[in-house]
């Protein structure tokens, strides 16, 4: 993967999309029909099946940005920069879903749309900083774009463990440290996680194709 996108990866795009759509459809069916209504919070608790998988996928995406940024600095191959930028952009979309679904749940569970508790605050900071990654990437010159993006992709990774551990490190967190779920709830959550991770892969491949087209346009090569 040092010179370009492997053929099998490009060819698998329709299959991954089909799998993602089927899995997301099954997970939505499970959310509606299989997962029981939580006794205390009621039906609004079903937001968990999009909120938590989106949050975890965000961390996976930004983790991939971190790994690809290191690989870019080590190899200077454009493909690693493309992977880092693509994962970061798709991760931002998942993070936006988290920030939109969270307040809707909070309004019902905590009687407020927003509160400056540790997990919400650190996640908002994460969203703003990774948004900054794209602003910087779009602002700097072509010659230094990849290097600066890679350095940012590595530095910003520091935020991930802070978000993850925020409920333990700071007092006053409204987010629970752990959640007890019944069998059907747990299975639906795991299914949703799998579905949204595959959906991430499909969207990531789509975004990577765009980077490949851009690279081909700039270098005069053929894109996959």
């Amino acid at each position: 993967m040092t010179s370009g996108i492997p053929g099998w990866f490009s060819r698998s795009r329709p299959v991954v999309w089909a799998l993602a759509i089927v899995l997301v459809a099954i997970s939505l069916w499970a959310v509606v029909a299989r997962a029981p209504v939580e006794v205390q919070m009621g039906i609004v608790q079903k937001i968990v099946y999009i909120h938590v998988p989106s949050a975890i996928t965000t961390l996976v995406a930004f983790g991939l940005t971190f790994a690809a940024s290191i690989a870019y600095l080590a190899t200077r191959s454009w493909i690693w920069d493309a992977i880092a930028a693509s994962a970061c952009e798709v991760g931002m979309v998942f993070a936006t879903v988290v920030l939109v679904s969270g307040p809707l749940w909070a309004r019902s569970a905590w009687n407020t749309w927003w509160t400056w508790e540790p997990r919400l605050t650190t996640f908002l900071i994460l969203w703003i900083l990774y948004g900054g990654y794209h602003v910087v990437r779009a602002s700097v010159g072509q010659s230094s774009k990849r290097t600066i993006s890679a350095v940012l992709g590595i530095i910003l990774f520091v935020n991930l463990p802070i978000v993850w551990k925020s409920v333990e490190w700071w007092r006053g967190s409204l987010h629970p440290r752990s959640v007890t779920m019944t069998g059907d709830m747990r299975q639906t959550l795991l299914l949703s996680m799998a579905a949204w991770l595959v959906f991430f892969l499909a969207a990531f491949q789509e975004r990577l194709r765009l980077e490949s087209l851009r690279h081909a346009a700039e270098s005069g090569e053929g894109a996959r």
């Binding site: 009621g42 039906i43 609004v44 937001i47 879903v97 939109v100 194709r209 765009l210 081909a216």
Partner: protein, 38 residues
């Protein structure tokens, strides 16, 4: 109920808008390449 439905509908809207923007950007790039080739 309303909040739960709103969360899923808004998530769907976010994804549809994003995927359409990806498609539009790819089409614009392909068009630019076609013009450059001519």
């Amino acid at each position: 109920m309303t909040y739960a439905v709103a969360a899923y509908v808004l998530a769907a809207v976010i994804w549809i808008v994003y995927l359409l923007s990806l498609r539009a950007r790819a089409a614009r790039l392909a068009e630019r390449r076609a013009v450059e080739k001519r």
